[in-house]
Amino acid sequence: MIATIRQMLRCHWSARRIQRYLDADPVARLAPAELRRLEEHLARCERCTAVVEEHRLLSRLLGGWTEFRAPDPRAVARLRATVDSLVADAL
């Protein structure tokens, strides 16, 4: 019983850090001790490892949208022309 509760607490602790772990965003990096603890937990916990894999799949799927949502090159060209025009007007 106690072992189960401990495991649940470890999973809960890990679940709150998995996204920061995967993103490694500069403003929200895990501390070295957190990183070590999380990786040790992932090495032992199949359920949390599965959550990590689901997040990786989601990231790949959403990453697939990046390319087809790329801005229209004609819009980019028109906006570059706007920059040229603003600069030219100043000179």
Partner: protein, 186 residues
């Protein structure tokens, strides 16, 4: 013969170009996520560039992207006062497009049908999100913005970006999780 070009004006123009040109595509991506429309996005970025040019002298040169995203957000807020600035107004941005996996050819190990189904499920799950959560998810995971830049674009604290992102991803992930079971039931 006297040169009519003011050196200060010239320096300002060069600074402006240096700050802005590398960020045009990012601004367009973010503007599209904020407005939900390619046409509105272009108008928004154009107005942002004009305002940024006027404000170039006040900018210290650090973090041009964050500076431009703040101007973009304020401009969007002014242009669409009736809309909440952190909402994606129109979800045709993704919903009306071809499947994401049409963007690249399947590899030898890809299962194109599974990918197409997953992508359709993903669109439904993202569509079902609260627009505030959807905006954060799109800005970080599709437009590839950092947490800090997303916070600038939406005018919310980084902590709020993280909590919305956490909830959005978990909801989408949970929605996708049931799909393999659905397939095997056929």
């Amino acid at each position: 013969m006297q040169d009519s070009t003011d050196p200060q004006q010239q320096a300002r123009a060069e600074r402006f170009r240096r700050f802005v040109e590398p960020e045009i595509e990012v601004l367009l991506r973010v503007a599209r996520t904020l407005t939900g429309s390619g046409v509105d996005a272009e108008d928004l970025v154009q107005e942002t560039l004009i305002r940024a040019y006027r404000a170039t002298d006040k900018f210290d040169g650090r973090h041009p992207r964050a500076w431009l995203l703040t101007i973009l957000r304020n401009t969007n807020s002014n242009m669409h006062r009736r809309k909440r600035p952190d909402l994606v107004a129109d979800w045709e941005v993704v919903g009306g497009h071809r499947p994401a996996f049409g963007a690249r050819p399947p590899t030898a190990t890809d299962d194109a049908a599974l990918h197409a189904e997953l992508d359709a499920g993903l669109r439904r799950a993202v569509d079902a999100l609260d627009p505030r959560f959807r905006a954060v998810l799109l800005l970080v995971d599709v437009d590839q913005l950092s947490y800090a830049d997303t916070a600038q674009a939406l005018g919310i604290p980084v902590g709020t970006v993280m909590s919305r992102l956490h909830r959005a991803r978990n909801r989408v992930r949970t929605a996708l999780r049931v799909r393999p079971a659905t397939r095997s039931d056929r």
